[in-house]
């Protein structure tokens, strides 16, 4: 067998034993050994001789090496338990992650709620301030109207405006005039009501009377003898248009 002769002459058996062959050569030698009992026997003798030589030259290792080996292998048994610990650790980590996520989501929604509450609170605050302002104004006017020093005057419309009616509250002590113009008929956009005081035959401007308000505060004029309402162009006039006088009352 040519293959066998090669293997023996090339010293491949020795090299195979010494682990010096390439994977390809190993395959070749192992195949030959499996099929050739004579070659196999030759190899077995070689193995036996090498082993014997090794035993003749054995050096006893210190006892500590075996103890260390045992310790290491016994410890590795503990290590084999470690996957359980790994699972526990992984589960805890996952749990922690989930709870963190849950807490984060909660925190986010709480943050959003807080923001919307803050906004609502700002709106409420604004409304409250507005109401307080309105209340103060209304209260102020009510006090003026209810004061014993205030005299109410009803300004009835003349023949030009028979259905019109306004109420003026005059307080000489505090020098205040407040008018309720609600009873005046509404005017086209280019016109407005204006109120005048008559002082020694001269008409003095007190201010405009917008019909969409409940109470209008006007200028108090000293020594006024009468109050007069005229219809004037929008924005008011410097002098009253006497032809457009619709109401007057003597103080």
């Amino acid at each position: 067998m040519r293959n066998k002769k090669d293997i023996v002459e090339e010293g491949l058996l020795e090299k195979y034993l010494l682990d010096e062959l390439t994977a390809e050569e190993v395959e070749k030698v192992e195949l030959a050994l499996a099929h050739d009992p004579v070659l196999k026997e030759k190899f077995q003798l070689l193995e036996a001789d090498f082993e014997k030589m090794a035993f003749e030259n054995a050096i006893a290792p210190p006892v500590a090496v075996k103890s260390k080996l045992i310790t290491r292998l016994e410890r590795s048994r503990v290590k084999t338990l470690s996957p359980n610990w790994l699972w526990i650790a992984a589960s805890l980590a996952a749990l922690f992650l989930l709870s963190t996520l849950w807490m984060f989501t909660n925190w986010q929604s709480t943050k959003n709620e807080l923001n919307s509450l803050k906004n609502q609170s700002v709106v409420l605050q604004e409304r409250l301030e507005e109401l307080e302002e309105n209340y103060a104004l209304t209260n102020n006017r009510l006090q003026i109207i209810n004061s014993p020093a205030t005299i109410p005057f009803v300004l009835k419309g003349n023949e030009k405006a028979p259905d019109s009616r306004a109420v003026a509250f005059v307080n000489h002590t505090n020098k205040l005039v407040v008018v309720n113009p609600r009873g005046l008929p509404s005017l086209p956009k280019h016109q407005t009501y204006q109120m005048w005081s008559d002082v020694e035959g001269e008409m003095i401007n007190m201010g405009l009377l917008p019909t969409d308000k409940d109470l209008v505060t006007l200028k108090y004029i000293d020594h006024a003898e009468s109050l007069n309402i005229t219809i004037e162009p929008a924005g008011g006039n410097d002098h009253p248009t006497v032809e457009q006088l619709i109401s007057a009352v003597t103080l």
């Binding site: 034993l17 090498f50 082993e51 030589m53 054995a58 006893a60 290792p61 292998l73």
Partner: protein
């Protein structure tokens, strides 16, 4: 001599993850393997670690051992040799240069045993046969490295090894005959 068949039983137990069986093999083979490891690396402390490492590898890779392909000792020897050579390569103690003769003196010997003196049948061989066998078997040299270390052509080196093994074979055979003769005469 090793009891090949006994080993087969013990190895079966190691394959079943019985550590005690491994300790039995340790008791039997650690000396022979330590002799190899120490002669390759020439450092007592390192050799002790590498012996431990070798048995860890035997434990972890035992499923890869096939007793049809050879003796347990042959398999373990390869692991011990390769583990040691790899460790030396890693620690740069073995420099892979052309001049491998230098390596011989590089290692530090902290053991009391004379590592260059071999015992038993190999000791009866001619010096060049001894050296050839020693380099490839006890020092971890490849054939190519060893013939360069000895300063002879590869072909010559190969015949040294073959002759050495032949002489070794005859020596062991006559040893067996002597034992057989002693046994017969005593009976």
């Amino acid at each position: 001599m090793s009891h090949h068949k006994e080993d087969v039983e013990v190895i079966k137990r190691i394959k079943n993850k019985e550590k005690d069986a491994l300790y039995l093999l340790y008791d039997k083979y650690s000396g022979a393997l330590f002799g190899i490891i120490l002669r390759i690396c020439r450092n007592q402390t390192l050799a002790e670690d590498l012996l431990q490492e070798t048995f860890i590898k035997i434990w972890e890779n035992i499923q890869g051992y096939d007793n049809d392909k050879g003796r347990f000792y042959t398999w373990a020897y390869r692991i011990a040799k390769n583990t040691t050579l790899n460790a030396l390569r890693k620690s740069d103690m073995l420099i892979q240069t052309e001049d491998l003769g230098v390596v011989k003196d590089k290692g530090t010997t902290t053991t009391e045993v004379d590592l260059d003196k071999l015992n038993g049948a190999i000791n009866t061989l001619e010096p060049h046969h001894q050296e050839a066998l020693s380099l490839v078997y006890f020092r971890g040299y490849t054939h190519r490295e060893a013939n360069e270390a000895m300063g002879v052509p590869l072909g010559t080196f190969k015949s040294y090894v073959r002759q050495a093994l032949q002489l070794l074979r005859e020596s062991y055979k006559s040893e067996l005959l002597l034992i057989w003769w002693l046994f017969v005469t005593m009976v």
